[in-house]
Assembly symmetry: C2
Homo-oligomer: 336 residues x 2
């Protein structure tokens, strides 16, 4: 039904070998023949069968994107879309296509990471949103499939990763609060199943330390990145430690929870409590008062991840690539 090189060969009166070579731009075809073949291909509206080509070249021009818990309100998903757009942009020039896999820890399908990738013969994969406890993590550490992770620190001879400098970002956010005069600063962190949580905690501690403010473990709550989690954490923090005047959050969603909790408790932002978030989701600039937060360049993360994956596929050495972030100062924190 679909037109093949055989049809073109017949019509052009040449062999399929020549057709293949002409169409693929090999130099050893006379210009005349090439032109004729190209014209016929055009006329017949020929589309090469990528499946057949894939079978022989063992290249599929496909990379896999593996996302965990796609719509659960989790770590990365507020900006999954932008990362995705970045990836697509990064793949475009090399004409790679993207096949999307979604997994979730509960029903991991008993499909191993390698199997997932091999089934579809993807040439490499970008992985996002995996929890540290996910079995895929261990597998990826040992895989030979070119892989780039987003926000998950694994570096082997085939696996690299892209992330913000979470330590530095948290350091800046906390330092900002300190500069405003705050000393009793709470930290509503993400869950312990995300690498970024530990990195951000480290940055938070560093900022305190640098300013000679003692670290108090009870000022830190591991929530789960969600609004609900932030809501509860805020209440706990404020009830148990009313001396707290500012809170840094490891996600904007949790900061939103704090907004709601503050409102419930009759506290005003930033008059009664200063808040800083992390992510700069759309909401952050729309809410009143607008949220001061860390903006990650998520499009660039995706773009860079794609480009780096392509490089690894070409044989380059995997790296950890850091994407710049930025503290966006708005109205949710005040000078003490």
């Amino acid at each position: 039904m679909a037109v093949t090189i055989k049809d073109i060969a017949k019509k052009a009166g040449v062999s399929i070998t020549t057709v293949s070579r002409a169409l693929n731009g090999y130099p050893d075809v006379s210009e005349e023949t090439r032109e004729k073949i190209k014209k016929i291909a055009e006329e017949l509206n020929y589309t090469p069968n990528s499946i057949a080509r894939g079978l022989v070249t063992n290249k599929t021009q496909t990379i896999g994107m593996i996302v965990s818990e796609l719509i659960k309100p989790g770590v990365y998903h507020p900006f999954f879309l932008e990362v995705l757009a970045g990836i697509k942009a990064g793949l475009k020039k090399d004409r790679y296509d993207l096949i999307l896999f979604t997994v979730d820890p509960e029903s991991q399908d008993a499909t191993s990471y390698e199997k997932l990738c091999n089934d579809r013969k993807v040439e490499g994969a970008i992985v996002e949103g995996l929890r540290l406890s996910d079995p895929y993590i261990e597998e990826i550490k040992g895989t030979q499939i070119p892989t780039v992770l987003i926000d998950i620190p694994i570096l082997t001879d085939k696996v690299g990763y892209v992330s913000s400098d979470n330590v530095q970002a948290a350091f800046e956010a906390t330092s900002y609060l300190i500069k405003l005069g705050h000393k009793n600063i709470g930290f509503i962190n993400g869950h312990k199943d995300a690498a970024v949580s530990f990195e951000r905690l480290e940055g938070y501690k560093k900022a305190l330390e640098k300013n000679d403010i003692p670290y108090r473990e009870e000022y830190v709550i591991f929530a789960d990145f969600t609004q609900e989690g932030g809501y509860n954490a805020f209440k706990t923090l404020i009830f148990e430690h009313p001396e707290i005047t500012a809170i840094f959050h490891a996600s904007d969603l949790m900061a939103m929870g704090s907004y709601r909790a503050a409102k419930d408790l009759g506290m005003r932002i930033p008059e009664d409590i200063s808040l800083v978030g992390f992510d700069d989701i759309e909401l952050a600039s729309l809410i009143t008062p607008a949220l001061t937060t860390i903006r990650q360049d998520t499009f660039k993360m995706g773009y860079t991840a794609a480009k780096h994956l392509l490089a690894i596929i070409r044989g380059e050495k995997p790296q950890h690539i850091v994407i710049p972030h930025k503290l966006v100062v708005r109205d949710s924190a005040r000078k003490l």
Copy 2:
């Protein structure tokens, strides 16, 4: 390198034909042979080469998802993620994989719809976010590729679509405002490049008509679904028609723009102006006052689109499938 049926055949001392049949569950293989082959396949950690299979069966177990303007703040993208999750869920049982294509009108790549699909030999496609003026629209009307559109009304022998009942939804939203006592009701609509805009306008008109309220064209502004668009439209509406007491919006994002504009103008919601949105994005329940809006079951839209596409691929007749919506009453509209 990778293990093939040949390896299994050799090890089992049978032909590759038998291996293929045993592994694919054909009945005409002795249980004994089947068991042996299965065990060996397991041992060798065999993964069938889907490319090779695809070449011979001419089935790829792949469907394409085509999204336009992925990260431009557009019509559908606030809930792209949920639709996507729904699609993945709908595809899961039949073990179809999803390949994601992003297109945008400006750089349509000169790649036709058919070409896009044929290149990757997808068995069908789900299309979302296309503008009515997109050239793909015309192509899709004539395509033989099984296709399901989201929110774009095209129905042929191979193409079906899934949408909310936008007329009814807009009717309900407007009627709700009328029931609260509002008579001068503005409508900030989406752009004219979306089918839903016309449907929602129709529903708005119908509600007015049913309640003997004359339709006034100047109360309707076609914005572009974005926050910025809503912001400007709100100001225009309020400046030119200060008698307006309520505004229905064709997207929550535009309603957010109205929130901001109202604030700038020193108007309180809902005391001075009642607002109703459309979509029920996450923001809607988080903002103060919480936004009354139409919730679309976007996960279900995706799920249904996927299931319906599979049905079309199996030869069933395409349909227009309506996904139920719901008016979610919150705090942004008051009784007059």
